[in-house]
Every structure is written in C-alpha cells, then in structure tokens.
C-alpha cells in the first residue's frame, strides 16, 4: 500500500519542490531557473537579467510577449543573445491569449511575458500550461504581484540586474 502511495506521489510530483526540477543554468541564481513554473522578476534590471539568462543558454528557444513592444532586439544581440532563437510577439490587449497560445504550442521552453498580470484565474491558467509543457514563464513587472499564489518564484533584480534576490519561493 505504502509503495503504491509512494509511486503515485512520485508520478504526481506531490512532494517535488522546484529545486528538484530540471533547471536552466543561470549565474544569477545558484540553483538555476526551474523548468515548468511561473516566475516573476521585478525591479530595475529585470530585462537585463533575462537577457543574461538567454545569453547563458544559447540553445534555448524563447517566446517574448509584450503588450506594447518596447524591446530593442539589437541590444539583446549586444548582450550575446542569439536572436534567431527568440520569437517576439507584440500582443496589445491580447497578451494573455497570446501567452496561452504559445504555451499550448509547447514549442518554447521559456516564455517571457511583459504585460499587466495579476488576475488569479489567468495566472492559474499560465501555471497549468507551464506545468503541462514543462516550460518556464517569466513575468516581468514593476512591483511584485500580491496574493498571486500561482507564481512559484518571485525575484527582484538588484544592482541593475547583476543580482537576483529571491522574494518568495526560493531557498
């Protein structure tokens, strides 16, 4: 009986913390960025820290969704990011729909999302989709979202993105 329970738990990943998950190596996070979770990065330097993560994982395919596109792709290139691996989407008011569509396609292990977020139902949907596709979704925001329990890891960029300080969910 116990063995069956253990097997079920192992299959469901009940006691699996994100530290045991597969992770993308990132020099700014000692354990790397876990796969299959919803993470949030806030503070000045958040975009720089994502660029650093992408530069350290050159083979990683990423979808970058913005409601109003203000990113400078040539600046990403200057930071060592392979532009051919990044799929940009300017989604306007349809950012949440675009993110869900991209996650469902399961083509991108990493999805970066810069649009207003905080609606719990929407975050829960993202959480389920990231878990299903084993992809990580990084939400870029100005302030950490409050009571947003689907966000597994909340990080704050400090020293202009040279350091990522965990606010919630990290060891």
């Amino acid at each position: 009986m116990l063995a069956v329970l253990q097997e079920l738990r192992a299959r469901l990943g009940v006691f699996e913390s994100h530290f045991q998950r597969e992770a993308f190596p990132c020099s700014r996070l000692p354990n790397g960025l876990p796969r299959g979770i919803l993470a949030e990065i806030t503070g000045v330097g958040k975009t720089e820290s994502v660029a650093q993560l992408l530069a350290e994982n050159p083979a990683l395919r990423c979808a970058w969704i913005e409601s109003r596109f203000s990113l400078l792709p040539s600046a990403l290139l200057q930071r060592g990011v392979s532009l051919e691996k990044i799929f940009f989407i300017e989604a306007g008011e349809n950012a949440a729909w675009a993110a869900a569509t991209v996650l469902r396609a399961q083509l991108f292990p990493l999805v970066v999302y810069r649009a207003p977020y905080g609606d719990l139902r929407e975050l829960r949907r993202f959480q389920l989709l990231t878990g299903k596709g084993n992809s990580t979704m990084i939400l870029l925001g100005d302030q950490p979202a409050e009571n947003a329990w689907p966000i597994r890891l909340s990080l704050e960029a400090r020293e202009k993105g040279r350091r990522l300080a965990p606010l919630r969910g990290a060891r």
């Binding site: 958040k46 040539s74 600046a75 930071r79 940009f88 989604a91």
Partner: protein
C-alpha cells in the same frame, strides 16, 4: 508491371481530382474516360498492394467518390477486373475486349452479337479459337482485340498533367439559412480535406487561398469571397481550418450572409514546394516546423500582420532602425559595432525638460545624479539625416536612462528626449 485501376461511376466528373490524389502513390498516373490508373510496381518498397488499396479507399471516402478498385499486371486487365469484378483474364466476359482495345477511352465492342451466336461467353473461350480463324469470323476489330489480349502490357500511357486550378466545392443538400458558424465549418473542413489530399499528392504546401460562399442563385449578390494569405505555407489541415474558421466566423458575425447558403468552395491561389522525406523518428524537427507555421498563422490572424516575428539586426546607426522583422530563421542580418544600447527603447522618444537636477516629462520626473557622454550619432543624409548626442543618465532611484539632445527644428535650439532605459 503492377497497375491499380480506380473505376469511377458513369458520368463522374471529378476524375481530375482523383488522378491528382493518386500522385501520392506514384508519379506514373493516367486518367481515362472513366478510370484513373496508377503504376505501383516501382513503389512496392514503400507500400504493398493491400496497403495501397486500403489507402485508396480512405482517399475515395475523403473525396466522396464511389469507385471500384482492382489490381492487375496491365492497364486493360486492371480496368476489366474493376469493371466486371473478376480476378482472372480468362473468366472475363467477352464484352471486356472493349477495355483491351482502348483502355483509356473504351468504345462498345461491335462483334458481341457474333460471339453470342457462336457461344463464346468469356475471354477464355475466345482465346481457344485458332488465331487464323479470327479475321474471317470477327473482322479486323476481333484480330486487334486478340493481339491486345496477348500483349496487353504494351499499351502506351497517355500524357496526363495535374490541373493548374486547384478548387474544391462542397454543397449542402439544399440551400440553408446560416445562423451559426457550425454548418459552415462542417463544409469547410471537408473541402479542406480534399484540397490537402491533392496538395499532398503534388508535394505542395498551401500558401494562399480564396473561400467563396455560394449563396442561393436567385440572390442579388450570389457569392461572397474572402481571400486568405497564410504568413507561412502550411501542410496541416487542422491549423488551416482553425485559422480560417477564426477569420470567417468573425466576418460572418460582422456581416451575416444575405441569403441561404448553397455551398462553399476553396480555390488555391498560391502554393509552396513541400519537400517531404521519410519521417525521422529521432528528431521532432518536422513536427516543430508544422507547429511553428500553425502558431505564426494563428497569432497573425488574431494580432495582425507583423505582430509575431523574429528580429534581425540591420546595419544602421539610428537606434530605432537597427533591427528588422522577419520570419526566416536563417536570416542573420548584419550587425554594426556600436556602444552598448539599452534594452528598452521608447518609440517615439519622450520629450523631456531639464529643471535643475530633475528631468521632467508629461507623466514623470526623475532626479538625476550624473550624465555620461555624449555619444554623437549623425548620418543617413540620403533619408533626411539626423544628428543626436546620446547620454547615459543615472537617477537617484538607481535607473539608467538613455537620453539624447537634437535640434528641435533644422538650425533651431536643441531639445532633450528620453529614448530608452537600461531596464
């Protein structure tokens, strides 16, 4: 030689579509007046006779065609087997000699009455008649039929080429008023199934098409046409149906059909080559390419053109023009070496005023601690020219702004703009 004959029902006009779909089995296809022929001897390494017949039956179902299928070692024998439902030449009725005489355009055989009087019922009986007696008994047509019977494998295949126009139409049983999109989707799906069957056989991908709603013929505007161009050519039915449904349902919601709908037709207006190879079980590349084309199509349909893209560097100094949009993964562009740019760029730049140690815009104010620069940029006189001096500005909140000064008007005083942020 191994020939498969697909014999259509009399009066069937969709032989062209059938022959095109048969290209999926072999490049050697011929179209007769009432049958399509495929030579499958060369393809037997890929699929056997039974597999071929099974696939042909599926294909006929998709095309909504009723036909008889038979396999033989020659074109006339395959046609006669399909027509009379026997599998041995000797057991074929003598009427089958018409198929041996002209298999691609059979004509009624004139001597049937003579055969009946002589008690010759089957080809087996006919073959028992000594050859020297055939011209005197059955004339030149009889002799020709006899020769063809003995040397049926040598029939020349007529040239056949797929039609330029690729169109499929599906109709309701009777014209119907459309109040929801479901019935239209039903028609569209079966029309697309046929289109993709034909495209696949021709090794083509769908790039653009025209959907026409055929309204009641007594209606004033008897047709409603929608052109759809896919951002990336696609070979997958599901994603194209989804994308078309999304577009058309929106259109029909905004502008319902004026009259009862008779049917829907799809005309392919643009295609791209489809280099299909044997499936690689150890690589997901093919599936990913399909999913990628489908994803881009859906995103562009909803968000508009050029809203989902890959970026490529452009060899221009003007920061906002230093990159371009593409969907070609192999397009690497040309990068120019310039000092580090901010990751965030405001488009258009935000006008600033300097008030003491503060930079003020219409929405926000920043207290700055230092200015670094300038980096002077000028050029592109052939496009009207620009001249800017860029500075890195450190603020008391720890942000680094990227601002520039430039003449407000040609020869006028210089103004200050916020162009980006090192976020």
């Amino acid at each position: 030689m191994k020939v498969v004959c697909v014999l259509m029902q009399p009066g069937e006009s969709r032989g062209q579509a059938l022959a095109e779909a048969c290209l999926a089995f072999s490049p050697q296809v011929a179209l007769g007046s009432d049958a399509a022929f495929v030579e499958i001897e060369g393809s037997r390494q890929l699929f056997g006779e039974e597999e071929c017949i099974r696939r042909l039956k599926d294909m006929l179902e998709l095309l909504d065609l009723k036909a008889k299928i038979a396999v033989a070692s020659s074109v006339p024998a395959a046609l006669a087997f399909a027509r009379y439902g026997v599998t041995e030449v000797d057991r074929l009725p003598v009427a089958a000699l018409a198929d041996f005489l002209a298999p691609f355009a059979p004509q009624p055989f004139d001597e049937l009455e003579v055969f009946r009087k002589l008690g010759v019922a089957t080809i087996g009986d006919f073959k028992k008649i000594p050859r020297v007696q055939i011209p005197s008994r059955f004339g030149k047509q009889g002799l020709l039929a006899y020769e063809r019977l003995l040397d049926a494998g040598r029939v020349a295949w007529p040239r056949w080429a797929p039609a330029e126009r690729l169109e499929e139409r599906v109709d309701f049983d009777c014209a119907a008023q459309i109040h929801s999109f479901e019935p239209v989707l039903f028609l569209l799906k079966s029309a697309f199934q046929r289109i993709f069957l034909r495209l696949y056989a021709r090794r083509l991908k769908l790039a653009a098409f025209r959907v026409t709603f055929h309204l009641n013929k007594f209606s004033a505007g008897a047709e409603r046409v929608t052109e759809i161009s896919l951002p990336l050519p696609q070979s997958e039915l599901k994603s194209v149906v989804l994308l078309t449904a999304e577009r058309l349902s929106k259109e029909l919601e905004n502008r319902p059909l004026e009259d009862a709908l008779e049917g829907v037709s799809i005309l392919v207006t643009d295609t791209a080559p489809f280099h299909e190879a044997q499936r690689d079980f150890f690589s997901k590349r093919e599936e990913e390419n399909l999913a990628w084309a489908s994803l881009v199509g859906r995103l562009e349909e909803r968000l508009g053109p050029q809203k989902a893209f890959l970026a490529t560097p452009s060899p221009r100094l003007l920061p906002e023009a230093s990159w371009g949009k593409t969907l070609d993964e192999t397009d690497r562009g040309t990068q120019v070496t310039v000092p580090l740019r901010p990751l965030r760029l405001l488009e258009p730049p935000l006008r600033l005023q300097r008030l003491g140690h503060e930079l003020v815009s219409a929405q926000r104010r920043w207290r700055f601690t230092s200015f670094h620069g300038p980096e002077k940029l000028r050029g592109e006189w052939w496009l009207g020219g620009f001249e800017r001096e860029y500075f890195h500005v450190e603020t008391s909140e720890g942000e680094t702004l990227w601002v520039f000064t430039a003449p407000v008007s040609p020869g006028g005083p210089r103004g200050l703009w916020l162009h980006g942020m090192f976020d």
